[in-house]
Symmetry: C2
Subunit: 194 residues, 2 copies
Amino acid sequence: MRSAEFDRSQVLEQAMHTFMEHGYAKASMQKLTQATGLHPGSIYCAFGSKKGLFIEAASFYHQQKLQVFESLFSEDKPVLASLKELLANTVQECVQNTCAKVCLLTRSLNEIEGQDREIAELLARNLQQIELSLGEQIARAQRQGEAIIDEEPLALARFITMGVYGMRTYAFTNADQSILAQMAEQLLRAIQKP
Amino acid sequence: MRSAEFDRSQVLEQAMHTFMEHGYAKASMQKLTQATGLHPGSIYCAFGSKKGLFIEAASFYHQQKLQVFESLFSEDKPVLASLKELLANTVQECVQNTCAKVCLLTRSLNEIEGQDREIAELLARNLQQIELSLGEQIARAQRQGEAIIDEEPLALARFITMGVYGMRTYAFTNADQSILAQMAEQLLRAIQKP
DNA sequence: AGGACTCTTGAATGAACATTCAAGTATCTG
DNA sequence: CAGATACTTGAATGTTCATTCAAGAGTCCT
């Protein structure tokens, strides 16, 4: 036996950045080999195909985001405060000038539509999982008497989720911090009791 | 002299559909020649390049949407009613199973990010124009005493715009008519007086 | 009718692409 | 140390792509 020479999560991190920067189609194997430091053969040995690498990179991204989400919504803080932070984070990402300004999941989903059902479903599932977690947090907030309007928590979670997706696309037309921050405020106000 | 044999707007219509169905990168010249019925040489003669064709197709799409917008917001109807119709139209588009389910502008903007500044800026400008028109309509509604909250009309227009972008991406994860319709309601409620 | 002009045609071009694989190299086992 | 068993390497492969262009065909004007 001989163990692989590369660190799988380091490779995925770099591949993730490449896909975020160039999109799926335009992230050529050449760019991916340069970014990861792996040779084509190694990538095909480890991930099967470009698509296989993308699927793992997208899952890697998803796991990272999920972890941030979990740590943000800790038990001993008002949910509304965590939600506010989450939106502030999103705004910060959107106004960056690095590849971090895009959400790999939503961007790729827009790109891949009608091209690859397997990838589309994976991305959709990942996004829906975060939406569901958000729904649980909102339900918790309602139970704990936070000033959230009396509506189905899932409907509210979907609304916030839609808002985040919208902000991400909007940022491509106008990456203005104060405008995005105002949108975040409007979103929050829309689910709060008057 | 000899006039071209093809109808330019028919060609643009077909090219538009091809770009909507496959995205920019995956709409190959082969697909475009099949869809438009034109030979490569003719496309290059008439539009200069694939990019040139896309730019005209995107502008064509933009003009169509703008026209729908103008006819929807006729002077003798409450703005809120028109806005409700606009959102209902969007929902209807999103749940279709044809290429009409995508917005060429937002989808391409997501795809093109970081790849072609000229295209990105064109798409952004087109989208911002609709946003501005919406702002004017909202200002009119406020002047005419419709039940819209007392905030900058442009901020409200941006919020609705963001919502529409969000619905379009959301629809890729879950193209459920009732869910999208509920989002539209939530958006409307967020800008209305209680 | 003839010549000039322009549009159309579609095979040819070369670049970029994802993928493969046989040779090379390192590690582990006995 | 020797043999076996991986993993690594990167040039080669065949495909697909956007683009070009010279030949062909249609239209118009005189």
